[in-house]
Symmetry: C2
Subunit: 609 residues, 2 copies
C-alpha cells in the first residue's frame, strides 16, 4: 500500500547504470541551477532603494554607482568561480575548496553555512513566492502557510523523482521570467528614448544629498549584494552536467552572470529613470511593470513569472543541499545515510531532510520569513570568502602557468567578499548575530559525528593478516527457556541440539507443584537435554532468566564459551489474534540482547489457523 | 525511573505465598463488597416517587406497596444467593452457575452482561458521586470530568496495591453512611411519633388516584428495583473471604440484605410521611435530611457520606470485574493476561482494563452518565435471572435433601427476575434496546477468542509418547550477510562456524568493482567459509538477500535443512550515536523472521567508545 503510493509519486526504481541519463545539458542546467540567482533581481534593486530611502527620493541617484559596485563584484565572483570550477571539476564548491586549501575547519565553516543557507533559500523563496500569489489572490491569504508547505512538498517529490525530469517541468518559468524582464527593460528604455517620461521624476546624477554618509552607502551596497545569492550553485553541481562537465558548467556560469548582470543593471537604471519609490504595498518590479505597460495582461505575466521563479529558486537548494550533504557525509561529518542514492538515483535522504527542515522553518515563522534575508546573505558570503581565500592559497602554493592573473582575480574577489561581510556585521548586526552562535554549534556537531565514526571505524578495523581459519573455535552453550512441552518447544530443542552438544532447557515455575509436574513430564519425554527449573516467587520470568544466564556466564568464564538463547516468536494468522498472546517474549528477547553478551536466536512459529 | 514511580504508587512486589494475608474478614468484606448495593438506597426510593409523580402527589401512597414488592424481591434474592454461595464456594457467581447448569452460551450471556455492568457501575457511581461533590461546591463544577477521572485513577491505584489495604481505607465511609442513614430514619420517626409532622402532608393509604394504570405501577416497581443492583457482588468474590469462606460470605450477604432492606424501607416510609416530592435540584435524601435536622452539620454529614459511598460503590466493580475476567480468561473466552497476578497479587490486568474502560465511558458521556442507569439495571437482572434458572436446573437434576424448598426459593426468584426484565423492556425500551445489540457482539467476541485459543492449543499439542531422543537431527545451514571485513564480521563468522560446517557468507555489492574487491580480500583472509557475491542493481540489500535465502531453501528442500541467518546488532554508547547508524539491519531482521522459515540469530555488538 505505502509502496504503491511511493511508486506513483516517485516513479519506478532505476538501475544504478541508468545514472548517466540523469545528467543536465547547459540550457536545462541554466534553468535548474540559476533560478536562485536570477530571482534575486526581483528584490536586489529594491533593497538598495529601501536603504537609500531614509535620505529621501533625492538620494536615489546613488543607486547607479552602487549598482556599478555590485556589477564589479558579480564579475569578480563569476571569474573566480570559473576558476574554481576548472580546478574542482568534481564539484563540492566552497566546502571542498576551503577544506583542501585552508584545512578541515574552514571547510566545515563553509559547509555548515551553506547547509543552513540552502534551508533558508527554500523557506525564504517559497514564502516570498507564496506572498506573491496571495497578494494577487487575497482570498488565499489565510492559507499562506499551508500553500507554502504544499509547494515545498511538491518540489520535494519532483526532486525525489529525479533531476532531469524535474528540470523539464521547472525550466520554462525561468526562461519566461528572463523573457518577461527583458521585454520590460526594452520597452522601458524605448519609452524613455521616445520621450514618454518626464525629466522631473528623478534627480540628476551628482545632485548633492543632505545627511549622506559612508555608513548608509555601505548599507545600501551590502543590501544590493543580496542580488548575488545563488551564484555559487553551479560550482557545487558540476557532476550533474553532461560531459565535459567542467567546461559546460563554466559556460553556464558565464551565461548566467551575463543575464543576471544585464537584468540587474537594466532594472536599477529604469527604476532611477522612472523615479520609482519603494513601498510596503507594492514591489519595485510591480511598479515598473505598471508604469511601462499599465495594469494589463503583460503586467500580470511579469508578476506571475516573478512568483514562479521565486518558488523555483527553492529548487536550487534541492540541487545543492543533497550534494553538499553527500560530500560532508563521505568525509564522516554527517550521518552516512546521506551518501546513499534512492530509487531514482537522487540522494533522497538529503532531499527529504531539506524538505522537512524548510517546512519546519516555514511553520515556525508562520510563513513570514522576511527577516531571514540578511541572515541568508551572510550565510552566502561566508563560503564565498572562504572559497576565494582557499583559491589564493592554492595559487600561491602551486604556482601554475599564469598564476599571477588567477591570484589577482581571486584576491580581489576575496577582499570584496570580506569587506561585504564586515559591512554586514557592522550595519546589520541586530539581524545576523545569531549566525555567530549557530556556526560554532554546527561545527561542534560535525566534529562529534566525525569522532564517533572514527571511533567506530577503529573498533571495526580488522587485522586481516591473521587468517580466520587459524582461530580456535569456542564452545557453544545453548539455553532454551520453555513454558511447557509443546510442538514449539520440541522444535526449539531439536534446533538447539543441532547447534551444540551443550543444551540446557530452563523452566521458570511460579509454584512448587508446577515445577515438579514439569520435571516429571520432562523425564518421560526423554530428550537427552538437561532441564533446569527455577522457582520464581515474584511471578516474573525475566529476572530469574537473566540471573541464570549470568550464572552460566560466570561459570564458563575460563572457557569463554559462547551462550546462545533460543526463543520462539509466534505469528498469528489474523492481526487481532496477536493481541491474545502475551508479548512478554518480545520484551524478554529485547532485554536480553540489549544487556547480555549472548547470541539470541529467534525461531518464527506461524499458526496455520 | 518508570519502575520507581510504579513502586511508589503500587508498593513493593509481594511473593506468591503472601497471598493468604490479603483475605477479608466479614466486617471489612461488608464494607468493600456492599457499598454498591447499599449506595442504591440513595436513589432507589427516589426512582419510585419519580415514576409515580406523573399522577401527582396524591399517588405517592402507592410507594408503600411497591416498596413491599421490592422487599420481597430482595428477600428472595438474598435467599437465592445464599444457596448459590454454598453451592459454588469457589465464586464466579452468575457466570459459573449459568455455565454449569444451562450451558456455556447462557454462562457467557451472564458473564458478558456483568462485565459491561461493572464498567457501568464504576462510571455511573463515580459520576454520581462527583455530582454530589460539585453540587456542594459549585465552583468545582467545570472540572466535573477531571474530578471523576482522578477518582477512578485513585481507586485503580488502591486496587493495584492490593485488596485488604484498600479495604482499610475504604471501609469507614460505608460504616459512616449506614450510621448516618440509621440516625436519619430514627430521628425522622421520632418526630412523627411526637407529632411534629402535620397530617396534611400526605394522602392516606387507599386514596383513589385518577389515571392510575398497571403500566405506571410496573414502571415504578421496576424503577425501585434499581435499589437492588450490587446484591450479587458478594457471591462473585467468595475466594476473597477468610476461611471458611463460603460460610462467611453467606453471613455477610444476609447482614447486607438486612441493612439494605431496613434502610430502604425506612426511607420510603419517611418520604411518604414527610410528603417529599422528587425534584431536579435536590435529591429525596437531601430533602429528608433537611426536614428532619434542618440544614446543619448533620445534614452535611449525610450528604458527604452519600457522596463518598457512591464513589466507593465503584470499588465493588474493581473487586468483581478482575475475578470475573479471570474466570472467563481461564475458560479461554478472554485474553490470557487476565489470569496473571501482578506484583501485589491482584489481577492487575483486569483492574487496569476496568479503570481505563470506565474513564473512556466517563469522557465519552462528559461525566453525565445518568441515562445509563436503566441499562445498568437491565445488565444486572439478566445474570440474576440466569443464575436463578441455573439453580432451578441444578436442583431438578441433583435432587439433594430438601431440594423442593430450595427449588421453590430459586423458582420464585427466577420468576420475579424474568418479570422485572419483561417490565424493563416493555416500560423502558427506549433506554435499554442497545443491550440487545451489545450482548450478541460480546458473545461473538468471546467465541472468536475461544476458537483461536483452541486452534493454538491444538497446534501446540505434542505427542509425548514419541521420545525426542529418537528424532533425527536436520542439517544446519548458516548464512552470514556481510558488508566488508571487520571485527564484527569476524565475530559473526567465527560464531557461525561454531554452529555448523555449512556456513555461507553473502556479500551484496552495488557495483562490479566493489564485488571484485571483496572477493579478493576474502580470499586473502582465508576463512574456510564460502563467499557468495550478489550484484544489486537497485541498491537494495533486502530483496537480493531474500531471494538468495529462497534459493537455498529450494535447493535443500529434499534434505529439509534448517537455515539460520546470523546478523549483528550494534549498540552505541550514547543514544544519539545510534542515529548515525543505518537502521536497515533492524528492518532486514524483522522482515526475514516475519516472512521466511528461518532461524534468525542476533549478535549484539557494543561499541566501547
Amino acid at each position: 500500500m505505502l509502496n504503491k503510493i511511493k511508486r506513483i509519486l516517485i516513479g519506478k526504481p532505476l538501475k544504478s547504470y541508468e545514472l548517466q541519463g540523469q545528467k543536465l545539458n547547459k540550457l536545462k542546467a541554466l534553468a535548474i541551477l540559476s533560478s536562485d540567482a536570477l530571482s534575486s533581481v526581483a528584490y536586489g534593486p529594491e533593497q538598495i532603494l529601501t536603504a537609500l530611502a531614509v535620505l529621501g527620493v533625492i538620494a536615489f541617484w546613488y543607486s547607479l554607482p552602487i549598482a556599478v559596485g555590485v556589477l564589479i563584484l558579480l564579475s569578480v565572483l563569476i571569474l573566480s568561480y570559473r576558476q574554481i570550477i576548472h580546478s574542482y571539476p568534481q564539484g563540492g564548491g566552497a566546502y571542498m575548496v576551503a577544506k583542501e586549501n585552508l584545512g578541515t575547519n574552514f571547510g566545515l565553516i563553509a559547509g555548515g553555512s551553506l547547509l543552513i543557507d540552502y534551508i533558508l533559500t527554500v523557506a525564504v523563496s517559497v514564502s516570498a513566492g507564496t506572498d506573491a500569489i496571495t497578494s494577487a489572490f487575497p482570498e488565499l491569504y489565510p492559507y499562506n502557510v499551508l500553500i507554502s508547505i504544499i509547494i515545498v512538498i511538491i518540489i520535494t517529490i519532483l526532486n525525489l523523482r529525479g533531476l532531469t525530469e524535474s528540470a523539464t517541468v521547472l525550466a520554462y518559468p525561468v526562461y519566461l521570467f528572463v523573457i518577461a524582464l527583458a521585454f520590460l527593460i526594452l520597452f522601458g528604455f524605448y519609452h524613455v528614448l521616445t520621450g514618454h517620461i518626464p525629466e522631473s521624476t528623478h534627480a540628476s546624477i551628482g545632485t548633492p544629498v543632505m545627511g549622506i554618509s559612508l555608513f548608509i552607502l555601505l548599507k545600501a551596497f551590502s543590501s544590493g549584494c543580496s542580488a548575488l545569492t545563488g551564484v555559487e550553485a553551479i560550482s557545487n553541481a558540476i557532476p550533474s552536467f553532461k560531459e565535459p562537465s567542467a567546461k559546460n558548467a563554466a559556460r553556464t556560469l558565464t551565461l548566467m552572470g551575463c543575464i543576471l548582470g544585464a537584468l540587474f543593471t537594466g532594472i536599477v537604471i529604469l527604476a532611477y529613470l522612472y523615479g520609482v519609490t519603494p513601498s510596503a504595498s507594492q514591489t519595485v518590479l510591480s511598479q515598473l511593470g505598471a508604469e511601462v505597460f499599465g495594469r494589463n495582461g503583460f503586467y500580470f505575466f511579469i508578476q506571475g513569472t516573478t512568483a514562479l521563479i521565486l518558488i523555483l529558486a527553492a529548487n536550487t537548494g534541492f540541487s545543492a543541499f543533497p550534494l553538499l550533504a553527500f560530500n560532508l557525509a563521505k568525509d564522516k561529518f554527517l550521518p552516512r545515510p546521506f551518501t546513499t542514492r534512492g530509487d531514482r538515483l537522487g540522494y533522497s535522504n538529503g532531499i527529504l531532510t531539506l524538505g522537512v527542515a524548510s517546512i519546519i522553518l516555514i511553520v515556525l515563522f508562520g510563513g513570514n520569513t522576511g527577516n531571514l534575508i540578511p541572515l541568508y546573505a551572510v550565510g552566502v558570503f561566508i563560503p564565498f570568502s572562504l572559497s576565494q581565500t582557499g583559491m589564493i592559497v592554492k595559487w600561491v602554493r602551486q604556482r601554475p602557468k599564469g598564476w599571477l592573473t588567477k591570484l589577482a582575480i581571486n584576491l580581489s574577489g576575496a577582499l570584496i567578499c570580506y569587506l561585504i561581510l564586515i559591512i554586514f556585521f557592522v550595519t546589520k548586526f541586530e539581524k545576523v548575530w545569531i549566525s555567530l552562535i549557530f556556526l560554532p554549534v554546527i561545527l561542534a556537531i560535525f566534529h562529534r559525528i566525525h569522532k564517533h565514526y572514527n571511533a567506530v571505524g577503529e573498533q571495526l578495523r580488522l587485522d586481516v593478516s591473521k587468517k580466520l581459519r587459524d582461530i580456535d573455535m569456542k564452545e557453544n552453550i545453548v539455553i532454551v527457556p520453555i513454558s511447557g512441552i509443546t510442538t514449539v518447544v520440541e522444535q526449539s530443542i531439536l534446533y538447539a541440539k543441532s547447534l551444540s552438544d551443550n543444551v540446557i532447557a530452563v523452566y521458570i515455575g511460579f509454584s512448587q507443584e508446577a515445577i515438579e509436574q514439569m520435571e516429571k513430564e520432562w523425564e518421560a519425554w526423554d530428550t537427552g537435554v538437561r532441564l533446569v527449573t527455577i522457582h520464581s516467587l515474584y511471578r516474573s520470568i525475566l529476572r530469574p532468566l537473566s540471573k541464570f544466564i549470568d550464572t552460566i556466564k560466570y561459570k564458563t568464564e575460563s572457557s569463554q564459551a559462547r551462550i546462545t538463547v533460543v526463543m520462539p516468536q509466534f505469528y498469528t494468522k489474523k492481526w487481532w489474534e496477536g493481541l491474545l498472546h502475551n508479548q512478554s517474549g518480545t520484551l524478554i528477547r529485547a532485554y536480553l540482547v540489549r544487556t547480555k553478551d549472548i547470541a539470541l536466536t529467534t525461531i518464527p512459529y506461524r499458526f496455520k489457523k
